[in-house]
């Protein structure tokens, strides 16, 4: 089968076949990344714009490298808060960039659904690089890629996602991806950070990390944000870390060959103890390098599937 999606907005929209197709394509892209000359002409003449309304180092850099390895013309556009205050709407900004010849727009935005607005109103292919608390498809795809690389098969694995599920776009995308590929998905965190009715998606909800982690193959830790404490969702980082932080003792409850993932940036000593972050089980740096291959695959597939190449 081919990949017929014009956009990649979220994993909720992709079928399991499409997800597998992206991962398979990423494998060939990874091979490109291992050559001496890490460049192919696949997107030559295609203009890709990275439209990042939120600060991001890793995702933006990863997309940019992926674009350059595919020989695309790349423009990074980072609207400052002030240009938004000046009153230009998201749609006007994006339309202007499209008028400059962009055929793929990679967007990161603090508000859920922003990429949907562009997909509805523009002609370009849209890749969601993270929207609000909604989805972060490239992160989930690289997580799936990394899991598959290590475990060979995702179906049947037990995966636990730990932390602030409510505000996490990484969690949402991973929930869809893992469920579609046949994993058992557990989520665990303080009840104030578990989204309402989430169990209806098929995930198992836990409030205690010790029971959630028992026998799992993969642990995905989420970053905890300090401002959540200020809005009253938990009392202190200290207490959070005590009940939901991943330590070596807790990790022993998982399977022996468990892998630990984190989308970064890590709060050392809060959600992960330093020893766990640097542990043999940790594949955090594999995630980062796989991210480039997965993003190359995403860019290549929407650009060709969407009829832009």
């Amino acid at each position: 089968m081919g990949f017929r999606q014009k956009h990649i907005l979220g994993l909720e929209e992709l079928s399991s076949e499409e997800i597998r197709f992206v991962l398979d394509t990423a494998e060939s892209m990874k091979e490109v990344s291992e050559r001496d000359v890490k460049k192919v002409p696949a997107l030559k003449g295609v203009t890709v714009i990275n439209l990042f309304f939120e600060p991001s180092t890793r995702t933006r850099a990863s997309f940019e490298i992926a674009e350059k390895r595919l020989s695309a013309d790349v423009l990074n556009f980072t609207p400052s808060e002030s240009s938004v205050v000046k009153g230009e709407t998201l749609l006007d900004t994006a339309r202007n960039l499209e008028a400059m010849g962009a055929s793929v727009i990679v967007i990161r935005h603090s508000m859920s659904g922003a990429p949907w607005l562009l997909a509805r109103e523009l002609r370009s292919s849209i890749i969601n690089a993270g929207d609000g608390s909604h989805e972060h498809p490239s992160q989930a795809l690289l997580d799936l890629f990394t899991i598959r690389e290590i475990k060979k098969e995702i179906a049947g694995l037990k995966v636990v996602i730990v932390g602030d599920i409510s505000h996490s776009r990484v969690a949402r995308s991973n929930i869809w991806g893992l469920i579609k590929l046949g994993a058992e998905v557990r989520i665990v965190g303080p009840p104030t950070m578990i989204p309402r009715d989430i169990e209806k998606t098929g995930v198992k909800v836990y409030y205690k990390l010790d029971s959630a982690i028992e026998g799992v193959d993969v642990v995905i830790m989420l970053r905890i944000q300090k401002e959540r404490q200020e809005s009253g969702l938990f009392p202190s980082l200290r207490e959070y870390s005590r009940f939901y932080g991943l330590t070596r003792e807790r990790l022993r409850l998982a399977k022996e060959d468990v892998v630990v993932m984190h989308p970064g940036p890590i709060n050392r000593g809060v959600e992960l103890s330093s020893e766990v972050a640097d542990d043999v089980h940790s594949v955090i740096l594999n995630q980062v390098s796989n991210g480039i291959a997965v993003r190359m695959a995403m860019l290549y597939l929407v650009a060709s599937g969407g009829g832009n190449v």
């Binding site: 659904g113 607005l117 608390s133 909604h134 409510s166 989204p195 209806k200 998606t201």
Partner: protein
Amino acid sequence: MKILIKDGRVIDPSQGMDEVRNLFIEDGKIKGYPLNIEELERDPNVQTISASGKIVSPGFIDMHVHLREPGFEHKETIHTGCAAAAGGGFTSVVCMPNTNPVNDNASVTEYILLKARTEGVVNVFPVGAITKGQKGEMLAEIGEMWEAGCVAISDDGRPVMNSRVMRYAMEYAKAFGIPVISHAEDINLSSGGVMNEGLTSSMLGLRGIPNASEEVIVARDITLAELTGVHLHIAHVSTSGAVRLIRDAKGRGVNVTAEVTPHHFTLTDKSVLGYDTNVKVNPPIRAKEDMEAIREGLRDGTIDVIATDHAPHTEDEKKVEFDLAPFGISGLETALALALKLVEDGVLTLPEMIKKLTSTPAQIIKSTRGTLKVGAVADVVVFDPNKIITVDRERFRSKGKNTPFHGWKLSGCVLYTIVGGKLVFSN
């Protein structure tokens, strides 16, 4: 102007009438129900409307409308809002005070009424603010606004979060015999929310507004209504819990009435999937169980009134990120067809539906409208309940094209709207 509406099925809940009759209007009043109309039909001064197979009812009264003037004329004006009302079969609208300036004193009330007299084709009944600037702190000049023509008080768009202020407002309003309309929302619980809290909001990553946000204030205001004895009217009920609280209060004899909007009895929160900002409204569209509870509330009489909460916004304001879009649905021109769906679904009979759009809202605002009794002011609507229409927002008379129903095929079409004996809309 004399108008003869012949052979229509006249449904007037105020006098328990439901039969095929001729209705004659003269000098702006309901003159009578003539049996012999040959002479009238020959009279060149009489305009004859053939209503055979159609419904003739008192003009609808919309208890909950935002006309946006003064201050937000780019969204709607009294002129365009009234035209939209007439197109929807409404002959009276009750307009909320969240204008700029806020209708919190008699001079703003007088301005609205002057504009309505000179530019509006339907009757406009303003609602005064409960508190100055709708800030929820100090009582507005409720007495003077009542004198100037306000029919109720409300801080609609916002709740009065301070229970003591709400208590005083209720006590004070009793002096003028006007109802207090509650926008029931605990803003601490709803803070930052943009849609109903549930599976859909969880999956869309949008901040949810829990049902409890509405229900705690409904419970509080019912308690305060019991304390003060005022007539409390709950605006735009959206949750099953609120319906239950109101049903219970009515059962205990509390002086409380309630309204629901067509979008709340028609849609569920799944319609937000895809981030359509035209579905963004406050209170939010709730889950299916809530929609069903609201329909049950309409059926068993817990909910007295159908009101649109007509909240026009421009297309530019709505074509933004979901979080940034303003709340509101342009509702005047789709209300009848959506209400008729309740009849089709067996929730209400046609006379029951009409009652919730005419005599009941008239009673609540203590108006003499909403009836076709002989001698009453002739506010009349003629509609065809069976004509299939396709909702086309481009054809709205309202400036607000913000409807989630664009393209829907519905049945029910307004044919004539008559206000004070004058034909103001025909289709």
